[in-house]
Symmetry: C2
Subunit: 129 residues, 2 copies
DNA sequence: AGCATACCTTACGTTTACGTAAGCGTCATC
DNA sequence: GATGACGCTTACGTAAACGTAAGGTATGCT
């Protein structure tokens, strides 16, 4: 009784479009099975879609997303490959940590700005909320 | 003796291209002065460029970046405007917090993967580093 | 039977964010 | 006075990530 989903259900759930989901398939990011002509998505596809959309929200290109989710795909059995994978992981991590630094910097600046605004408002005679 | 910069110097410093910097000017994100034909950038331009590139690394479009850095521009003097600005700030902040959640999720998953790889390697008879 | 709904393919269109080429000015230097 | 180095404008090109339109299929009401 492993559940499956139609393309429309996934689009609804993740608030995206049929076209977008099909596009990810064209790029090889998803590979649903078929029931006749219709696409049938499994839990695995659903997880991948979630990862794709998350990657996009973080500003990765779909190519980069492909690399990232392929990391999850096949923990290989050979030691050279494993070491290569560890390297990849490390690069991705550095990338993400840089992004988080950027992000925190912007958040800090927004907080500053927020404080200044409230001060200005107060100076205008408003009540402090 | 307030320093100024040429377009080439900024491109070098921020590891970008002349074209990119000019492009930001076309979009109204930068507004350098001129010495004859040549663009002359002040400290303010430099700060804005840094903000632009940071926004881009976070996956914002240049339009969104424009909105964000314009928040910094003109803390307005009127209370209605100030309240509007506070609302904007809050929306941006929510957005960024969502991104940080995404980011931390990916980092966690990478850590998991990393551990599994190391375990696999160890099981292959390698020495634990 | 007629119609709606959900899905399909093919294919051209669109926006964003620059890349790249062509041709021209201006110093400095060899 | 020719040759780079650096910068300028104009303008067409391009890759990514879908949007959108056209026309067809399958299923389920009513």
């Amino acid at each position: 009784m492993t559940r499956t989903w139609s393309i429309g259900e996934l689009a609804d759930e993740f608030d995206t479009t049929l076209r977008t989901i099909r596009h990810y398939e064209e790029l090889g990011l998803l590979a649903p099975t078929r029931n006749g002509q219709q696409r049938v998505y499994t839990e695995r596809d659903r997880v991948r879609l979630r990862l794709i959309l998350r990657g996009k929200r973080l500003g990765f290109t779909l190519d980069e997303v492909a690399h990232i989710i392929n990391l999850y795909d096949d923990p290989p059995g050979e030691s050279g490959q494993l070491e290569f994978l560890l390297g990849e992981i490390d690069r991705r991590r550095s990338d993400l940590l840089q992004r988080r630094a950027d992000l925190d910097a912007v958040l800090d600046e927004l907080d500053d700005l927020d404080r200044r605004c409230r001060a200005d408002l107060a100076a205008l005679g408003g009540r402090t909320s």
